[in-house]
Symmetry: C2
Subunit: 328 residues, 2 copies
């Protein structure tokens, strides 16, 4: 899609998903500013864009206000893996809430369209399966994951409140488990964990009995969804959600194909043969969600979108990325 | 209890519960500073304390940082009735989150003990009845009540995160429906609504069929609980919750006696005879919780506390207050 001269800001744009999004927006003709404090994001993720005259990197922390004139603001800033967000829980919830607030304040002043990446974590340990957008979730307010889960839930409320109160154009998605090149190698997520462990010939660590299932979305599918969603006219988005009895636009974006953790481990070992890695089992951490799978009916209907990259096609590309990274 | 010379700060101290708490702490020998922006609180609520040399009023908004050296900080600031908190949803969620954050930052710097008033609203529209502290709740992140509910849930997470990360001494309660003198006459809450309507000879408005039940706690019972809770040694609090498998102290404080809204209306009309008021029924607002009742087992065990003021004793005192207020 050609969107010449649109000025876009991406908070968290040096992270895994943010850096892919920056590249995608640049190739659509946009001017892109990436704002990142480089806590979990990295300069290496955006290195290839630095010499693009339509690209700007702004080192800044979203918990502090920021300024600039943009047509679209994409709010992606937040440590997203337990290993990162539990390192400094107070900072995590601040990033989620204050980052969202600062994004919305800037967008309100400058009339920018806002895109917010929420997460399947707002569903917590769900009691409904698969999860539709109308499911309210099942989250512990004071548990070890709450800094992330409740921070993200409050950010959603902020989006709905700003929309309700100021008539802003805010579009939200809840991202389910996503993988691909540029993932952080030490974020403790299951895909990167397994690949890095296998590539290093270390044992593959499974938590619990490994029969808990997850859905894995390749990052390109996510980008397709974001792009189509943000290109829709405001009236169309409003009319669609209103027809579905929702007064705020939110879509699940994920791959509904389910795999058990054990299956993922097997597939990884198959793609990285001769490593000598064995499967070892550890106890399940507290409040770890047992099962999560997106109901993507709404996204299909609104965007004509559904994931196209199957795990057996996405996994090799991700393995190639990590192989290259580890060989540096 | 004599707690001579303790320096206490109460955010929201000119509100309904805050002003009662200020009076209670003064009578225990404490020095009391009330911080309030007077949005829903009022100078009239604290007028009787203004000439007390141990009392200070500080007009300030909790969304902005504040300073001072205190032994105990009581965080009560937040518009608490739907009619107030939905007037400016963005401000409501900011008060909840930023007010909590500013309270905790000050307490961290000055090593104050923190008391936070959370709410039964964190349970949302509960699917478990009665609600124990371990119940995770059932809340819509993007509904019209979410500015309050999710703001309060995020504030709980902040408390847990600061405790976990900095080893602070933070004690939280979840307050269930509370009534008594100094309630805001126009806050749209059912007790004040019914009394004011009856005293003015207007019709009594019920939402839904009036068979939804509520528990009503008289404010003096709440104050008893707060005082005993805050007087306990830190080790005792930690040991108690830890023995119950909870790594953060939170107690339900409310009156488990249930009345239907219809019963409350009947009781009010009985106590205010000859008004000519009739019962009229309106549709139930969106996301209105159907039923909520505290499980107070934990509070009983830790504090030896339980509510003592029954509705037929608390209601007349509240009616007297409103009668006096309306005659001014």
């Amino acid at each position: 899609m050609n969107r010449m001269a649109k000025k876009c800001l991406i908070t968290g744009g040096a992270g895994f998903i943010g850096s892919h999004l920056a590249r995608r927006l640049l190739s659509s003709g946009c001017e892109v500013t990436v704002l990142d404090n480089l806590f979990t994001g990295s300069k290496a993720n955006i290195y290839d864009m630095l010499d693009n005259p339509r690209f700007t990197f702004l080192m800044h922390d979203v918990t502090q206000p920021f300024w600039g004139q943009f047509d679209e603001i994409y709010n992606l800033a937040c440590p997203a893996s337990p290993i990162h967000y539990q390192r400094n829980p107070v900072e995590t919830i601040k990033v989620s809430f204050l980052g969202m607030m600062n994004t919305l304040e800037l967008a309100l002043k400058t009339r920018a369209r806002v895109f917010h990446t929420s997460t399947s974590e707002v569903y917590g340990d769900p009691e409904v399966h698969p999860q539709p957008e109308k499911y309210w979730g099942h989250v512990n307010t004071i548990g070890p994951r709450s800094c992330y889960d409740e921070g993200k839930r409050a950010a959603e409320s902020l989006c709905a409140d700003y929309t309700r109160q100021y008539g802003m154009d805010i579009r939200m998605i809840r991202i389910f488990n996503t993988y691909g090149p540029a993932m952080h190698p030490h974020d403790g997520r299951v895909v990167s964990n397994f690949i890095v462990q296998a590539l290093k010939g270390k044992d593959i660590t499974l938590y619990g009995d490994g029969n808990q299932s997850r859905s894995f979305q390749y990052v390109d599918d996510l980008l397709d969804a974001i792009e189509s969603y943000m290109c829709l006219p405001e009236e169309k988005v409003r009319a669609f959600f209103s027809a579905h009895g929702m007064d705020f636009p939110v879509l699940n974006i994920g791959n509904p194909a389910e795999f058990t953790i054990r299956e993922l481990a097997a597939m990884t070992l198959e793609l990285i043969p001769g490593t000598g890695s064995k499967l070892v089992y550890h106890p399940l951490p507290k409040d770890d969600p047992k099962r999560r799978r997106p109901d993507i009916t709404m996204a299909k209907e609104l965007l004509g979108w559904e994931p196209r990259v199957t795990l057996d096609r996405g996994l090799p590309k991700t393995i190639d990325y990590f192989r290259e990274l580890l060989s540096r």
